[in-house]
């Protein structure tokens, strides 16, 4: 009986069936559910690592010591994990090691549109690309076999439309893998120059061998139809090509790197016109062109966004599909009761420059809050504040704060804070400690005191850590906006590095039934509208609370100059 599975769920299932024993990851849309589903299998030891670098190092350690191990991340997570990956390609593995990396064309929930296939080529590790949930399950097993056979880490590349598609999957039983022996092997596992020079030779020969073996690995598929047009594609794009160009012959690459050059030459010889259709960069097209074969691709499909059936149809002369009408947008907003709303209301009131990073609070760049001024990558805000003071001086630093979340602080803010203190900076950092990794859907982290199984775990003491680094630390409840304002003003004027831990749990963690706020005698001044709360609506008659949305947090009560809003029940 087939089961409907999310692509990510199918990857986890495939890993389970392949006998995987260790999964270490950091959450990131659209990859997060792979690790969450893996944690449901008791045979797999799963963890949320503090960042992707640690996750890959942990998975590498497990593989080096003889078991199959996996690490899952979004595309930008692979940047953080690039350091161990590039050298793990030299050492090789022992037990299989697979990195599941999910790209996000169109940036549904990402800050850039980078293409993981570039990093894979730079690191000289193979790339396997499934095209539906069934292949997600089947190909991850093959990825482990290839990893062990060729002694290399393997990247299973997903994209949003694979990771977050549900389609039928035939499951199988788990095949337990024996723990391989661990042998001390300094020449293989210690990458000093003398050893690495030898291993680099191996990396090249391994890649050449894989290219020769590509056909026998059986991950690629040739579908000959007409001669007129031949399309090379991989991943979910294959599905779009099937529908958009039903007459075309197709070479579907499951192993998209190293490419099976012999198969491509044969295919090119069998068709009149060769096209590569690939999302994001024109990587396969360039490689085929470099083989001296006449090929086109990006001039039709472009580099940006997602491909689709209609985009491919239109690129090849098909009729244009109807376009979305111009209607008021509905951008995502902070949830009712979100503590970030309180913190950012104060930051906006104080007219501060807010350097940010990645989290739900990045939404505070949008109106009406619109006070977050920069967002680059996880943990970057502290470094930016240090740089800002260097560029513009102490007075500017007094008008600036760096904000980041509890999870992103642990991910990559700690080293920034060490530098800020060491550098004798005068900056103010606000850790938005909502007790969870929020935006990716509530994953535990070292500061929450729970592990991936929601079992109690040793809790990182954020305030103790920051103090030991040498920062002045204050803890404040952001829902008390007056108190938070006072603390921020004090800390902005303090010399040295200050850390304000704005601590209040994510509104979605509180499962109690809220008591909605009530409005009586509204004068329609609009003061409460500045909160940007989706539960507050306004018309000519005044403001109204949408009881279905209101979380009863009471922030609006404190904004009303006329005492027109009341809130029953004390939830703080």
């Amino acid at each position: 009986m087939k089961k409907l599975m999310l692509g990510n769920e199918a990857v986890a299932r495939g890993a389970y069936e392949a006998g995987v024993r260790v999964v270490s990851s950091y959450p990131g849309t659209p990859s997060t559910e792979i690790t969450e589903f893996s944690a449901a299998y008791k045979e797999i030891n799963c963890e949320w690592a503090p960042n992707e670098k640690v996750a890959v190092e942990t998975a590498f350690g497990a593989a080096m010591c003889g078991v199959r191990a996996m690490s899952c991340m979004k595309h930008v997570g692979l940047n953080v994990a690039a350091d161990p990956l590039y050298t793990a390609a030299y050492t090789g593995v022992n037990g299989g090691l697979v990195l599941c990396v999910a790209d996000d064309p169109f940036m549904h929930s990402s800050q850039n549109e980078q293409d993981t296939r570039f990093i894979a080529r730079a690191a000289h590790v193979p790339v396997i690309e499934p095209a539906d949930s069934q292949e997600c399950k089947d190909f991850i097993r093959r990825a482990f076999e290839i990893s062990e056979r060729y002694d290399t880490p393997v990247i299973l590349r997903l994209t949003t439309r694979l990771a977050h598609q549900r389609s039928p999957v035939e499951t199988a039983e788990r095949q337990e893998q024996p723990v391989k022996p661990y042998e001390k092997n300094i020449m293989k596992n210690v990458m000093m120059p003398g050893m690495a020079r030898k291993r680099h030779v191996y990396v090249e020969s391994r890649e050449a061998q894989m290219e020769k073996d590509a056909a026998a690995l059986g991950l690629n598929r040739l579908e000959m139809r007409g001669r007129a047009l031949g399309v090379v594609c991989a991943g979910v794009v294959y599905q779009y090509v099937r529908e958009a160009l039903p007459e075309a012959s197709v070479l579907k690459l499951g192993l998209s790197y190293p490419m099976d050059k012999a198969a491509i030459r044969d295919f090119a010889a069998q068709v009149d016109r060769l096209i590569v259709i690939e999302e994001l960069e024109g990587i396969m097209e360039q490689e085929i062109a470099a083989m001296g074969i006449a090929v086109e691709g990006k001039k039709y499909t472009g580099r940006q966004g997602e491909l689709s059936v209609q985009r491919i149809r239109e690129a090849f002369g098909g009729e244009k599909a109807p376009e979305e009408p111009a209607l008021p947008a509905r951008p995502p907003v902070l949830c009712p009761g979100c503590p970030h709303r309180a913190t950012f209301h104060v930051l906006k009131k104080l007219k501060l420059h807010v350097f940010g990073d990645i989290g739900c609070y990045t939404l505070c760049a949008l109106p009406p809050i619109d006070s977050l001024e920069s967002a680059l990558c996880m943990g970057a805000s502290i470094g930016m504040a240090v740089g800002a003071e260097k560029a513009r001086g102490r007075d500017f630093a007094r008008q600036s704060v760096a904000v980041l979340g509890d999870s992103t602080f642990v991910h990559s803010g700690i080293t920034g804070l060490v530098n800020a203190v060491y550098d004798r900076s005068n900056i103010t950092v606000v850790i938005l400690d909502n007790r969870i990794t929020g935006m990716t859907g509530h994953q535990q982290n070292p500061a929450t005191g729970f592990d991936i199984y929601n079992q109690p775990a040793p809790q990182l003491n954020l305030e103790g850590l920051c103090e030991s680094i040498g920062a002045h630390v204050v803890i404040e409840n952001p829902m008390d906006m007056d108190a938070l304002e006072k603390v921020i003003k004090e800390e902005l004027n303090r010399d040295g590095v200050s850390v304000i831990i704005a601590r209040y749990p994510c509104a979605l963690l509180d499962k109690r039934r809220p008591i909605p706020a009530r409005v009586t005698g509204c004068r329609n001044c609009g003061a409460c509208m500045g909160l940007g709360c989706p539960a507050i609506e306004r018309d000519a008659g005044g403001v109204h609370i949408n009881a279905a949305l209101c979380n009863g947090c009471g922030l609006c009560v404190s904004q009303c100059h006329f005492g027109a809003i009341s809130c029953g029940g004390d939830r703080t």
């Binding site: 409907l4 439309r161 977050h164 389609s167 529908e243 995502p332 907003v333």
Partner: protein, 190 residues
């Protein structure tokens, strides 16, 4: 059954659960199916869309604009926004309730006063029906009930799919909402 269905609404309205139930049901009824979702940022009160493609051999997980058989909209503005996905004779099931997006709340844009005309339209106040069944959160299942009146799949198969996918504590409310949705669908069809 061959049907391309777009489900739209506002993050938090239970759209992903609805598409999951439909996918589960399609498989049980012997069809191939692909469901495409987007998680993450879009769940924070933003517009949410899922594509459900049911048929003999489904390739693309996405529905091409102008080719959908059915749009199920949990909110009126989102119904208007998604109408371009429908083919000429495609049907719309829409909750008439309005949820104001932030640009409207802030007075930067007006909530559109457009109607939907020239196609089969099943417009109803699904929120009122859901509340009468015991939970405002059951809007999604009310609309699923309406949809069931447009397909040949038996109602007990829908009920089994709901039971297999909702939390046991909410099952009674959801089954009541489904029944009420079926009744509303029957009366809208006349």
């Amino acid at each position: 059954m061959k049907k391309d269905i777009i489900i739209v609404g506002v993050g938090g309205q239970g759209i992903l659960l609805t598409s999951k139930i439909l996918g589960y049901l399609s498989l049980r009824m012997g069809d191939d199916v692909k469901v495409s979702e987007v998680h993450g940022m879009s769940q924070r009160g933003g517009s949410v869309i899922t594509h459900v493609r049911i048929g003999q051999d489904v390739a693309s997980p996405l529905i091409t604009p102008g080719e959908a058989d059915l749009v199920i909209a949990f909110e009126w503005l989102e119904a208007l926004r998604a109408e371009f996905y429908l083919k000429k004779e495609g049907a719309m099931i829409a909750n008439t309730r309005r949820m104001l997006p932030m640009p409207v709340i802030m007075g930067k844009a007006a909530y559109p006063e457009q109607e939907i005309t020239g196609r089969p339209l099943f417009a109803l106040d699904a929120q009122r029906i859901a509340e009468e069944c015991g939970s405002v959160r059951a809007v999604n299942i009310v609309l699923l009930g309406v949809m069931s009146t447009l397909t040949e799949w038996p109602r007990d198969a829908y009920e089994a799919a709901i039971a297999a996918n909702v939390k046991p504590a909410t099952l009674d409310v959801n089954l009541a909402a489904f029944k009420a949705g079926c009744q509303a669908g029957d009366s809208l069809r006349g």
